[in-house]
């Protein structure tokens, strides 16, 4: 990142000690003609000093987005907004629209969660990064391009003068997010509202974007960050405010919040956040299971054994080599985590192991028998023995069957006992996972996400499987529910002696639950090690980059390790959400030394 940018206009005159933004008793509701709908925001109070950083933390439905948008008048006319939001000495709520409009984009910038959606796909970046400069008459037309390019450079985009003429879809996710930040700061605002700015990003890219935001504070930029992730909040901000159901639960200094927070909900959020323990290297649950490899070595035939697995997809954008030459074993009573970012191939691998997709080459063996050539009775046994829990809890349940019918379905398919036996067993399973009896006749749509996932787990257990394959089972759920589900899985594993294959992008979760961790990137297995060793003595540079990218809730993150540009001598390809493969040129750009103002500079590992 380059030197701070030149100023475009003079900042407003603020009294010393006066906060940049001060919100008092903000209430937002969407009555829609009815009186029984609770307000979305009920009494929000916050103070943000100039060049300060405040995190608004809350789960979905907490009102964090609605509140901030209400403050700058971005809500639809059906919203009723009351209260006070004083910015640079003037109240935004009562301000006439013309005046408010002149502040938006000029003194107050905003970045959104999904960069690809926040840009107009049919317009070039040049147009979208300069248009507001001209709307606010901040410079002459011929200078606008120069300011925009300077902003692009400030956020660390290589070759900004060339890139600015491109269209949004030609950028990778991380770079487009930076471009969005450039778009917000090109007018040199005093305040930047960042609404979940890194949630949609690869964890290794997330760190870089957050470092950028921290660096921008040295330009005098104040940051109001909305996030559900306490770790991200802690890394970037000085102060924190916890919201729940539109009400402020607690506020505090970020650095000490983990220890000093007193409200039950805050404590709950803090405790549910799953942090990994870099010191001892093993999470709380697995400390007792410290494996030294010898137990595993003497085990009999692995339950599932994959050898030389490859999978190539042909898509409209070309061939995607999703899984490259993978060997993986799962043994009895073993919990293996497959950790990787989106596009690493981990979900594809899980499906290959379950026989849901056919491999392009390589074998998958169940108890020593090759699945490809297996007879129907072997396949039936395999299907009973290996079950899957999916990422989308609602999507994985049959919507037209009741909860109990859903759980009984595998029993029905395999003709285990008659209808009454099935219902009884289903009830047992639902009790096991904590679904109360009065919900059992309901339909999936009527349950919450956490409950739906419990039902899905109950269903997966119906046939007494030996292996449970979990594909990101908690990433679609709220943070506090995640911990519950993980505890459930962990408990079930103990009780039933299950083996687990746990696919996740979250290293801390993997550490908590599993004995052995396999790290994947770009279709390759980059490293595999027992949990404790992976965390204390990571081998591959990619693993080290991954570990350093984690934002813990307690303590500081590890020093930044840049993600290697190549894995196995081919360039690292960032696969975007819709499976189009694009070269990520950003990794060839060498940023200058990362300065964290709070900590002394350290040499970077490479």
């Amino acid at each position: 990142m380059t030197a701070p940018m030149s100023r475009l206009d003079e900042p407003a005159e603020l009294q010393p000690e006066q906060p940049l933004l001060s919100i008092r008793d903000l209430r937002v509701s969407f009555p829609a003609g009815r009186s029984d709908i609770p307000p979305a925001v009920d009494g929000l109070n916050l103070d943000l000093p100039p060049a300060g950083a405040l995190a608004l933390v809350g789960e979905s439905g907490s009102g964090k987005t609605v509140g901030t948008r209400a403050a700058i008048g971005l809500l639809p006319p059906s919203a009723r907004v009351a209260g006070e939001a004083v910015f640079e000495g003037r109240d935004l709520i009562t301000m006439p629209e013309e005046e408010l409009r002149s502040l938006r984009g000029r003194r107050i910038g905003m970045v959104f969660q999904n960069a690809m959606e926040a840009f107009n796909p049919t317009l070039t970046l040049k147009r979208q990064l300069t248009e507001h400069l001209l709307w606010h008459k901040l410079c002459r037309r011929k200078d606008a391009l120069r300011w925009a390019v300077e902003a692009m450079d400030r956020v660390g985009i290589p070759e900004p003068d060339k890139r600015i003429r491109m269209y949004p879809f030609q950028f990778s996710g991380g770079m487009l997010q930076r471009a969005m930040i450039a778009m917000a700061i090109v007018t040199r605002p005093a305040l930047l509202i960042a609404d979940e700015p890194t949630t949609a990003l690869d964890v290794t890219v997330q760190r870089q974007v957050l470092d950028l935001l921290k660096d921008l504070r040295s330009d005098g930029l104040a940051i109001l960050m909305i996030t559900h992730d306490l770790g991200v909040a802690r890394y970037t901000c000085d102060d924190v405010l916890v919201l729940r159901h539109g009400r402020v639960v607690e506020t505090g200094r970020m650095a000490t919040f983990g220890d000093e927070a007193t409200e039950p909900y805050s404590r709950h959020l803090i405790e549910s956040a799953i942090d990994f323990d870099a010191a001892t290297g093993s999470g709380d649950e697995t400390a007792a299971r410290a494996s030294d490899g010898s137990d595993v070595a003497s085990a009999p035939t692995p339950l599932i054994a994959a050898s030389g697995l490859n999978k190539i997809f042909s898509t409209s954008g070309g061939d995607v080599h999703a899984v490259i030459d993978v060997d993986l074993d799962i043994r009895k009573d073993e919990a293996v985590a497959v950790v990787g970012q989106s596009g690493s191939g981990k979900s594809t691998l899980a499906r290959l192991l379950m026989g849901l997709i056919d491999a392009t080459s390589g074998t998958v063996c169940y108890r020593g028998r090759d699945l490809l050539s297996a007879g129907s009775s072997t396949m039936r046994e395999f299907r009973r023995s290996v079950q899957m829990v999916f990422q989308n809890p609602y999507g994985s349940l049959l919507p037209h069957l009741s909860v109990i019918a859903n759980v009984a379905e595998p029993l029905r398919l395999h003709r285990v006992t008659g209808p009454r036996g099935r219902t009884e067993r289903a009830r047992e399973l639902l009790d096991l996972v904590g679904i109360p009896a009065d919900l059992q006749e309901h339909y999936p749509r009527q349950l919450s996400g956490g409950q739906q996932q419990r039902v899905a787990i109950a269903r997966a257990l119906a046939l007494d499987p030996a292996v449970l394959v979990c594909d990101e089972p908690t990433s679609a759920l709220d943070v506090s529910i995640q911990a519950e589900i993980l505890d459930l899985l962990s408990g079930l594993r103990e009780r039933l002696g299950l083996s687990l294959l746990f696919v996740t992008h979250n290293l801390a979760v993997a550490q908590r639950l599993c004995d052995r961790i396999v790290v994947m990137a770009d279709g390759l297995i980059v490293e595999t090690a027992p949990t404790a060793e992976l965390f204390t003595r990571p081998g591959h540079p990619y693993t080290r980059a991954l570990l350093s990218a984690v934002m813990p809730t307690h303590g500081d993150p590890l020093p930044l390790v840049r993600r290697p540009t190549t894995i196995g001598r081919g360039p690292l390809i960032e696969i975007t959400a819709d499976d189009r493969v694009r070269q990520d040129l950003e990794d060839h750009h060498q940023p200058t030394a990362v300065r964290d103002p709070a900590r002394p500079a350290r040499a970077q590992e490479d």
Binding site: R104, F112, N120, T122, E131, W135, R516, G568
Partner: protein, 346 residues
């Protein structure tokens, strides 16, 4: 782009040939030859003029020729725009009939299209802007009604009102501008609803996009957002609907023409169908099918020009990726050996 165009043209020609073969085979199956019927109208209803000295030939045109020969001759004629004479109007060749009749249909379709677009776009826009209020529900309800009803129904209603009751307009024929009023209105009414609804949903979709909020967050005025972002993005898809709609209009005037005795290609086609005039049926079918396909192709091409996302995805990119993937597979095998930890070899 050129490769895409070439590919589409090939598909178009193949489809046309398939259509022609299917049509020809069906023609061969038609019971009773033209000569059997001696030109009498097998259908009840209008315009049943008898033929003067009908050409006494069988379905194939030449009694002693094998069918495929007839087919090839016809296709050669079609490609060179030199088709055989019609049975019912032996003094005219099929292509001459098309040349005479199609401009009439085209005129009606063209005028109807103008009216449709002129009404649909503002109405759809207004409905989107005033979503869920009177100006949305009212027109949209009306449009639901309109989409349910076929064009000839509108023609009949208009005839009942303006011809039968008010006596302002004629009930049929083609002899001056007033003869075009009812057909054009009827055809327009048939399609305006669908386009208006599409405009509305396209605009609503654009309005809901995050980039609209982002633009407001940058300090845009409502006007700027609408003109610069919303309209631009929502009108591009409208083009993709407008093209095929026009083609549908141009080929869909049949019923109105048959009803009102308007000498467009549709009328000739319907007469040909009733009287088993096979060359004319064949020629008209091919003509309509070709028209539809060409219009669709043009619309696709223009869409590619308008939407930068499609414009920039060149085939060469995918080739590059494929090559890279293959190379990586080789190297990965070598690299991996050094990465596995001892503890994993169990």
């Amino acid at each position: 782009m050129l490769r895409y165009l070439a590919g589409r043209l090939v598909r178009l020609i193949v489809s046309l040939i398939a259509v022609s073969i299917i049509t020809f085979i069906l023609m061969e199956l038609v019971p009773g030859s033209y000569s059997d019927l001696q030109g009498t109208d097998v259908g009840s209803g209008l315009g049943g003029s008898s033929v003067q000295g009908g050409a006494a030939v069988g379905p194939g045109g030449h009694e002693d020729q094998p069918a495929w020969q007839t087919y090839l001759d016809f296709m050669k004629g079609a490609a060179t725009w030199n088709m055989p004479a019609s049975y019912k109007y032996p003094q005219l060749t099929v292509n001459e009939i098309i040349e005479q009749g199609f401009p009439v249909s085209l005129t009606i379709a063209f005028l109807a299209m103008i009216i449709t677009v002129a009404i649909a776009i503002p109405t759809g826009l207004l409905a989107a802007v005033k979503q869920n209020r009177v100006l949305d529900y009212g027109p949209m309800f009306l449009f639901t009604v309109l989409t349910a009803l076929p064009g000839y129904l509108f023609a009949l209603v208009l005839i009942l009102i303006f011809a039968s009751w008010l006596r302002w307009l004629p009930t049929g024929g083609w002899n001056g501008p007033q003869y075009a009023v009812i057909p054009v209105l009827a055809l327009g009414l048939e399609h305006v609803a669908r386009m208006a609804r599409f405009v509305r949903s396209s605009v609503l979709e654009s309005l809901g996009e995050e980039y609209v909020v982002a633009a407001y967050a940058k300090g845009a005025t409502k006007q700027t957002v609408w003109i610069g972002h919303v309209l631009r993005n929502s009108l591009i898809p409208v083009v993709t609907v407008a093209g095929p709609m026009f083609a549908a209009m141009a080929t869909g005037t049949v019923f109105i023409e048959a009803l009102m005795g308007i000498p467009g290609l549709g009328l000739f086609f319907s007469v040909a169908a009733r009287t088993r005039d096979l060359p004319l049926m064949m020629g008209a079918t091919l003509f309509f099918a070709a028209l539809l396909m060409v219009v669709n192709l043009l619309v696709d091409l223009s869409y590619r020009l308008l939407d930068p996302r499609i414009r920039y995805q060149t085939p060469s990119a995918s080739f590059r990726v494929r090559r890279q993937a293959r190379a990586r597979l080789e190297r990965a095998g070598l690299e991996r050996a050094g990465l596995e930890r001892a503890a994993d070899h169990g």
